[in-house]
Symmetry: C2
Subunit: 604 residues, 2 copies
């Protein structure tokens, strides 16, 4: 937990300000609750990233009471399915008090699972071969939400059992109406015991944050509930969570919440955080007075109302560029690059980021379809996508079909985030990352359009750009110093950290740059070069040690020129060095220009 | 409007599938509605970006009826304020029928503004000196939502007036209860006429998209309503919009909506889109049967339920880097750069993007506070921030205080988006863009820590890096060819497009690179150089024409060496060219390395 942040300071001030409010009355329908200290006051917030902020009595244990109801509803839904539960408990708000015995006259169902009638029915729906089994299932269920081992307060449990005649009446009525199966006394025991579970606001904030995270506990990382059931629980909490005055709550606060008679309130900011407050004094409706006020203040002070979302679907598109600005780490010869640049419009890359929901998908697909360049290859770089809603897969499949109808190809690259459904990349040609996708496209362009001598063909050392412009006798002097060798795949030309004392002219095959002195063919590739390229050439100006390893990807033929040999030649023939350095500067200037182009693309 | 996209195809299929459903009955309480063709069926969706998708009878006009109610509520709120309206109309859902005459017994208020009692009261609250004034205000109000001129259907209006006894009874009861002031007959005329406004689903989808965009019409760009009132209207629509069965609607669909007896339904996806459907046959509750089904299908097929949001607050942080990776366009000497790099930890830059709401702010501030580097200068690069919720300004102010307490400085750069409140940047030291902020920090580091000869001091031509390592007689030969000159601020050293035939050695003052042959001191700066730098040096290897203009920012002294002169010197002294080209290659290699570092930062 952070020890001093603006949010923590805010919560500390709020807690001490509201602590001075002495209104409200502690629940007294059972002796065990009536003895609660009205001054106790804890607030906890847990974000969907699992960060916790706690102030006041956030580790003081109290009985969970009605705050248990949405969680037990979730267990019943998990164990019995939505349809089975729907036949026995409705989802309609009611203006009645929480302990009303009234049910929906049309269907005989309790109005919703967050009033006592409904909660007793859902408790009876939790699976188990015996009462002990069911209890274990309930405790396990709660622990998946709180991430902490929980025990019941036996004194409160006994007290509830003794004074629970109204709930007893409800249970028998529910059995009479056919909504409850099994022994009502056993179900009541489970119900009372579950209401007596001891929790803290720290626990409940983690539980609320789990509901805010689509059912995945952000602290333990474990899923407590499926996403669909989680959505259902939040909807019921939103309309039925705060007893009556649901409309005013919807207007002033707006987020799903649930209160309990011990003085606890939880509130859920979907996609943001879970909130829990504990303060025993209750208002006339039976909600924690300070708990309500904390929610109202947080909603107002931080603009948390769910309808504030103004959205930014266009933000899904981080950037877009053509093939002439794309560049795989597979190096090409200058003439190959010229060919690729000439056909740059054949590829468009769209970089996406964040959540891909309905509005983002609509924007992205509309942008691609309206793009006047109409590139043959349409690649979406998804490495920064955090989530693709599985509902939207058909839209991308439709886009792939629509493009295919005019001979165009959809490519999905780098959609590897945990939030991307595995079937998503099945809708189109797919690559692990955009570098592979661009290399694949470059290969196509070269195969289709390139007519010169490419990096695939063997190239004599005299073709080297670094040696261009040398007079015949100068060239002969250099060639006399060059040594030839052949390497197998995986062999090192040079290792990271070793002296940089020569330049390698690549005559055939492919060489890659990889990080680490113990790199293998499986290490990440920084760049790759084909025949005609010079590698390790910065040795000529910098010396020192290699900053990366050079490795043969295939069988390669190389010609090696040492710095010492060049120094020797240049003593007699200074124009050799002038020419080679000029060529090197020209090549570096070209690469610097490409790098600056890339920076402009990335930094826009 | 797009003509062929996956979303449009989906809507076309949905429309033709549901068109075959012949259930439901057209409203017949007034003759003018009873004659509606039950086969009419239009669907329109307008996104928060203003893109429209329409299928079926989306341009067929119909009377707006009860879909007008949330908009008139908005006008009453705008004209009278929340408090005044709240005293006369509640916000609580009711299980009663839309034309129920029952009011809240405690307060005598209509339950909410979306039933007839409430809507008649809100109509009476719209300001105007006369009935004609009030009507003009209502029409203007609607037009700000639809962005199109609207007229009323006089036949329907007459028919409503004739058969409106129940509403007449409501109006008189409301005056009796003190909820309505003025002439009930005049208010009823306004009410009936407003229900008779002719609209299409295209109109209503724009109106719904306005509600989805925080009250700003995404097609006209005009604000129809303040953000706070917009939020209130959506809350009331969510709990009271679909007559009864609000709970089931909340679970299955979840987004705010409103239906009308002519067969229209609007639905709002906050931050995403507005939806409108028209299909006259109604279900037993009085909602458009196909309209309801379209909303259910859209919600289910695209995962639109508002509680699905799993959020990605961590996505607010696009990247972070230290001062050694930051680099203003103000070029420094190599020794200055070394000093800046040595003190790189003195600056941390945090790049943010998208919406800055509660959860994003919490994450960002927590990340900054927990960052172990604890840089003295903490800069937030906000150029990609689309919105900062004004509620969060105090959190950033608190962060600035908290940093200041330990001698640290918060810097806000580039927060220029329309969605950023102007007072936001007032909480800390602020710059128009991150380049200015980094330059300001670099200046501080140099002023505090730099001990060598910097780019602020005049530097003789012999200090030039390009000339380093030349033998004395070679250097003398070069100096003999150099010409000296002094330029005033704003003068060109070279213009874009002119031949690149010389290199300029900067001896004092500052020179900038700007785009365009007619650049001025106000044109965007690509880079800037101080004394000791060589500018235009690529002329030595590339020739051709200048790709940008070089301009004196201050009074500058320069020494110029032409390519032709260097060629002449090198004929006698080939080592001069070898040395200069080697220096140039070394300088380019350094810049390429920095550019690649920057690419790695940007591309991570």
């Amino acid at each position: 937990m952070p020890t001093d942040t603006p949010l923590l300071r805010y919560l500390q001030e709020l807690q001490s300000e509201l602590a001075s409010n002495r209104d409200g009355r502690v629940a007294d329908y059972i002796p065990a609750l009536a003895t609660a200290d009205p001054a106790l006051f804890g607030i906890s917030i847990v974000t969907v990233n699992g960060t916790r902020y706690s102030v006041g009595d956030s580790d003081h244990p109290f009985t969970i009471q009605s705050v248990s109801k949405p969680f037990v509803y979730g267990m019943a839904l998990t164990d019995r399915g939505v349809e089975d539960v729907r036949h026995r408990v409705g989802v309609e708000p009611t203006g009645d008090a929480f302990n009303s015995i009234r049910v929906d006259e049309e269907s005989n169902r309790p109005f919703n699972p967050l009033v006592n009638t409904g909660a007793i029915v859902t408790t009876g729906l939790v699976r188990g071969d015996s009462e002990a089994d069911q209890w274990q299932r309930i405790v396990d269920g709660f622990e998946s939400f709180t991430g902490r081992v929980l025990i019941a307060d036996e004194a409160v449990y006994e007290s509830e059992c003794e004074t629970g005649d109204r709930n007893r009446a409800i249970a028998y009525l529910m059995r009479n109406l056919g909504m409850l199966e099994g022994d009502p006394e056993a179900i009541l025991r489970l119900y009372f015991r579950q209401c007596s579970l001891l929790v803290t606001t720290d626990d409940l904030a983690v539980a609320a944050a789990t509901l805010a995270s689509g059912g995945r506990n952000p602290v333990t990382g474990r899923r407590a509930l499926t996403e669909n059931l989680n959505e259902r629980i939040l909807s019921v909490m939103q309309t039925c969570g705060m007893y009556d005055a649901a409309g005013a709550w919807a207007v002033d606060v707006g987020f799903p919440s649930k209160s309990g008679v011990s003085g606890a309130v939880i509130a859920v900011l979907p996609g943001q955080a879970g909130i829990a407050v504990y303060s025993p004094p209750l208002d006339v409706r039976g909600n924690s007075l300070r708990g309500i006020e904390v929610c109202r203040r947080l909603a107002g002070d931080f603009g948390l109302h769910p309808h504030r979302d103004r959205g930014h679907p266009a933000g899904v598109l981080r950037g877009a560029y053509r093939g002439n600005r794309a560049r795989s780490t597979q190096a090409r010869t200058d003439t190959e690059y010229a060919c690729i640049e000439e056909h740059g419009d054949d590829l468009s890359v769209y970089e996406v980021q964040g959540l891909i929901r309905f509005a983002e998908t609509e924007f992205l697909i509309g942008f691609i379809i309206d793009d006047p360049t109409r590139s043959r290859v349409v690649a979406i770089d998804g490495r920064r996508a955090l989530l693709v809603d599985h509902h939207l897969i058909p839209m991308f499949a439709e886009l792939a079909d629509l493009l295919a109808a005019s001979g165009r190809v959809l490519v999905l690259a780098g959609f590897n985030a945990p939030g991307v459904p595995p079937e998503f990349t099945g809708v189109a040609r797919s690559f692990d990352d955009i570098d592979d996708a661009v290399e694949w496209w470059e290969d196509q362009v070269i195969a289709t359009h390139f007519t010169g001598v490419g990096s695939e063909s063997a190239r004599p050392v005299t073709d080297q750009e670094l040696l261009r412009g040398l007079a015949d006798d100068d060239l002969a002097a250099v060639l006399a110093e060059v040594t030839y060798s052949t390497l197998d795949p995986g062999a090192f030309l040079a290792r990271e950290g070793k002296p940089a004392d020569c330049v390698y002219f690549l005559l055939s095959g492919q060489v890659s740059v990889r990080l680490g002195s113990k790199a293998t063919l499986k290490s990440p590739r920084v760049a790759a070069f084909g025949a005609g390229a010079a590698v390790g050439e910065l040795a000529l100006i910098e010396g020192g040690v290699r900053s990366a390893s050079l490795m043969a990807d295939t069988r390669v033929e190389i010609a090696t020129l040492t710095v010492e040999a060049l120094d020797r030649i240049a003593r007699d023939r200074p124009t050799v060095r002038a020419t080679i350095m000029g060529n090197l500067a020209r090549s570096l200037a070209l690469r610097l220009r490409r790098a600056n182009d890339r920076i402009r693309v990335l930094d826009s």
